[in-house]
Amino acid sequence: MLLNRKGILLFIVLIQANFGFGQATGYMGKKFIIKTNIVNGMRLGFNNCDLEYVVGRRIAINASYQLFDYTRGQTGARVRTGVVSPGGRSSNYKEISYLKNGETSGWIASVGAKLYFDKIVPAPWGFYTEFNIGIGSAKFQNFTVSYDYKEKGYNVYNNKTNPRPDVTGLSGESKIVYFEIPSFGYQRIFKRLVTLDAKVSVQGQYCPSIPDEMLNALEHNYYVHANTISYGYNNLSLGLAFYVKLGFLLF
């Protein structure tokens, strides 16, 4: 893992290597960039504002505030086996529960650091790796859970079984712990004012407190699946993110 002793040592060596080479010139003396996403791998309605400040020849620190508000349609299914379906006489069924139509909204505030690879052309120009960590809050509103059943050994739905009634109007709130595994990106400056920043990363959102009423009905956790490609495990969601950010080099 990145947080083991070797990972920490590597991080310290990289930081030290930067400060060994002196001054933070920025780009022609300009060190402060404000930017926002113009393309992202996130769900629609994901808006953000990023601030970046160059503190070393290769290092910049950044702060970001993201607002999100999205509806996912139907999400992945959860399967339980050996259940007795409502009205059924056999326990030989698989129950499949679907999460539908809920709206997830909230915010994430994060801070981080960028390490630029090029020691000759100073930051904020060129290829870089970035690390971010932050906190946030999410609201889940109007989720519906519906159920289907399959008999063991068959892949077709048993339409004769009366399904459990849908559970509607599920809502709740959760705190979020957000982190970004060191990413890879490239930033370029045009006309001494406009910046274009393209980045690929793996992001994680950890929701330590999914509301009980949601957990009970869902039979499984719900994550802040802000990334279009993501994978959830326990309370943690990991997702692939890509961005193109348009910014302005202010001063």
């Binding site: 893992m1 990145l2 083991n4 070797k6 990972g7 590597l10 080479f21 002196g22 001054q23 010139t25 780009y27 022609m28 003396g29 690879f117 090029d118 020691k119 000759i120 052309v121 100073p122 120009w125 060129g126 290829f127 790796t129 595994i181 060191p182 890879f184 400056i189 045009f190 006309k191 001494r192």
Partner: protein, 217 residues
């Protein structure tokens, strides 16, 4: 991808992604100087292609050179260096030819006589900032000793931007006419296309570095 693979991948990118290099050489007299004088005369900065055929695109070369001159004036001032730029123009007088142009020719000649990245195919270390002190600083002719009285400073410089084998090279040279020494020599090689934004950044960075050396005493 697990953590180890990710670290390896990032390190690999860090090592392979950059083919730029920077070499700054300074004289001991600059390092031990206590003058605090930050006035510099810049003589006739130029832009050159390695291929002479391209240099005949006079209009294009002149346009880039004009941009470089503006950047030099702007960024030297931004870094607290009082810079005066002298180049060949309609108002150039005998003094320009007799003093400055011959000084420029002399300082370029003594430095080109050394083994440098510009006149040899020797490669500098990639993606490393190298700072060195001259063992024997290249000496210019003593006939220019009196120029410091005329121009109010002993520091005279030349800035050249070259395109060599598709690489962008900045060559920045500063001499001290009082002791006839080359006090500062910088080669910056960037393996990128010669964009106006990049040339400006290289010039800014060079003056930031020079100002740091001149003003720290």
């Amino acid at each position: 991808m697990n953590g180890r693979k990710l670290i390896f991948f990032i390190c690999l990118l860090g090592l392979t992604g950059c083919k730029s290099s920077l070499l700054i050489e300074q004289s001991e007299s600059l390092l031990s100087s206590k003058s605090g004088n930050v006035k510099v005369i810049c003589i006739d900065p130029r832009f050159y292609f390695e291929d002479d055929a391209l240099n005949y695109q006079l209009e294009k070369c002149q346009k880039i050179t004009d941009g470089i001159k503006k950047d030099i004036l702007k960024f030297s001032m931004k870094n607290g260096i009082q810079l005066e730029l002298f180049d060949l123009n309609a108002k150039s007088e005998q003094e320009y030819y007799e003093n400055l142009l011959s000084l420029k020719a002399n300082m370029l000649a003594v430095n080109f006589n050394q083994r440098t990245p510009l006149n040899f195919n020797s490669r500098m270390k990639e993606n490393v900032v190298q700072k060195k002190v001259f063992v024997y600083p290249p000496k210019i002719s003593y006939e220019f000793n009196s120029l410091s009285k005329t121009y109010g400073t002993p520091y005279f410089s030349f800035v050249g931007i070259y395109i060599v084998k598709d690489e962008l090279v900045l060559y920045h040279l500063v001499v001290n006419t009082d002791n006839s020494e080359t006090i500062y020599r910088e080669y910056k090689i960037v393996n990128k296309r010669a964009k106006k934004e990049l040339i400006g950044q290289m010039i800014y960075d060079s003056y930031a570095s020079l100002a740091k050396e001149l003003k720290k005493h």
